[in-house]
Amino acid sequence: MRNKRRLLSKTSKFVLHALLVLYSIVLTRVTCSAGGLFEYRESQIKRRPVLDQRTKTRENREVYKSRMQSGYPDISGSPDTEISQEVSNKKVTSRSASVGSVHHSGANTQATQNNMAYIMTMSYRPGDGVKFSAEEKEYVEAIRNSNIDDSLQTITKELHGFLENNWPGWRGNWDDYYIGLSILANIGLTVDNLPEQHEIIKIKDLTYYYAGSVYYAKFRDIYVVVPPPHGAITGTMPAEYTNVYVGNTAYFNCGGAFYVKVDNGYQVVAPPVGAIVNELPRKAYCTLIRKNAYSVYGTAYYKRFFRGHSVIYKVVKVPEVKKTVN
C-alpha cells in the first residue's frame, strides 16, 4: 500500500514535470511566432548598418554622382546635410536657367544665374572623378569659354582673387576638404543664404560663418565656402577626427585641419610642426624641394619617415623654395 502511494506520488510528479516542460515549449513557440524573438531577429537584420567615414564618403559620392547624372532630381526628403540641400537647391534653380526655362522663383534672378554659373565652373573640373552628362559638360564648357555672361567672368575673377588672397593655393588641394569629411560642399561653392543656425566668427577684418562643420565667408551679397580659418573658435568640431599629440599638446586632425581644445570650444590652428599622421588627406600633392619630396595639403608640408616598419607622415617646417612635380 505504502509502495503504491509512493508510486502514485512519483507518477504524479513525473506527469506534472512533463506538463510543465510541454507548457514551456508551447509558450516559447507562441512567443516566437507572435513576433517576440523572430521579430527581434528580423529587426536586427533589417537595421541599417553603421558605415564608417570612408564608406559614407563613397556612398555620398554615389548619391552625388547619381544626382548629377540624373539631372538634379527633386531632393526633398534627402538625408543629406543642410548645406548640401541648399547647394543642391541652388543647382536645381541654376540648371533650369541654363536650359532656358526662365523659371526663377527668387527675386534676385541675376545673382542666382551668376551663382549657378559659378557653382558649375568652380565645382566641376575634368578629372575630378565625377562624371557628368554631355549636356552638363557642354554647359560647363560654355561657361568656361565665357561666352555667356561678362559679369559672370568678373564675379568669378573677383571671387578667385578673394579666395587666393586669403587662402593662397586653395585650389590645389583644399577645395576637396569638406568632401573628405563626407560633407557635400566644395571650397568655392556659393550660397545665397546661410543655414538658419550658424555661428559668427570674427578674425581680423573678416567675418566667418560656421554651420554644419562648414565655414563660409561673405562675398558681395552671397556666401562662399572657405577652408577652416586659423584662429577660428567654434563650439563644435567636425565629427570625424583623429587625435594627434605634439609634446604635451593634444590636437584634433579633421581631414587636414588641426584644432586644439580651448576654454570656450575648439580653435583652428596652423598644422603643428612635428605632428605625425598615418594617412595624408586624399588630395595632398607631391612637391620636390631641393631633392626632398614633400606632400602638401592646405598650409601643411608633410615628409615621410619609417616609424618601425610603417611609413608615416610628419608635419615639417615649410621649405623655402617650391617646385611642383605634377
Partner: protein
Amino acid sequence: MLRKQKHIIIFTVICTVFLLCLSASHGIISADETLPAETEEKPVIDSRTDKLLRAMGDYLKSSGQFSFHAEINFDDLISSGHKIQYAFASDIAVHRPDRVYVERRTDLGGKRFWYDGKNMTLMDVTFGVYATEPVPDDIDAAMDYLMEKYGFSPPLVDFIYSDPYRTLIENVEYGFYVGLHRIRGIRCHHLAFVQKDIDWQIWIEDGKQMVPRKFLITYKTLPESPQFSATLSEWDLDAGLPDALFDIDLTSTEGFEKIEFMTITDTAFEKAGTGQQE
C-alpha cells in the same frame, strides 16, 4: 530518538574534522610564508620542456645558413577599440653570422628588409620608399641595435639570432609541456611559456628535424590581449643562399624615394615630449 542522537554525533564529528583541517592548513600556509621568496623568482620549466626547446635552438644554431616561410596573423586594436586581424606572408633567409634577408607580403603592403653585415635597408614597395642605415657587423648586435635605436626588428627575429634557445628563454618565468599536437599534419611538441608581459607557445616538430612549426604570442597586458601567430614551413637548413640575395645594389632602387628612420626618441617625443618642435 536514537536516530536524532546519531545525527547530532555525525554533525559534531564533521565539524571537528573541518576545524582541524582548517587549522592545519593555516599552519602550513604560515609555515610557507616564512620560507624565503627566492624560490619563486627562479623560472619554473619542467626538464622535458626545457630539453625540447634547447634541442630546437641547437638545431637552428648548428645551421650556417637556412631559410623558411612564415604565414603570420596579428591583431591590431584600432581606435574604435575593435580588434582587427591582419595577415602577411614572409620569406626569411639567414646566412650566419652577418646576413639576413626578409621579404614580406602583407595586407598593409609589401616590404623587403636586408642586412649585409654593414648596412640594414628597409624598403616599402607599396609606398615606393626605402631607408638604409649602417649597423653593427654581426646579426645579434645588429638586431639589438635596431631594436634599441629604432624600436623594430624583422619578424620572428628570435629564430634569427645566433642562439635561439638563449633568446627565447631569457625572460621566461614558467614553462610547461602541453602535448603532442599536429600543425598542418606534422606532429609537434606543444610547449607553453609565461613571461611578465606575454605568454607564448611553440610547436616543435617531433622527429629528427626539430624546427619550430608554429609560434604564438599573446600580449596579455595590452587591451584585448592581441596575438601574433606564425605558422612556419618550407624549412631548408642546408640552403645554398646566393650572395646576391643579401648584397642588393641600391642603384636597383631607382624610382624609390630614400627616406629616414624615426628613432625611438623621436617617437617618444611625439607621444609625450616636451613640446619642442622641429
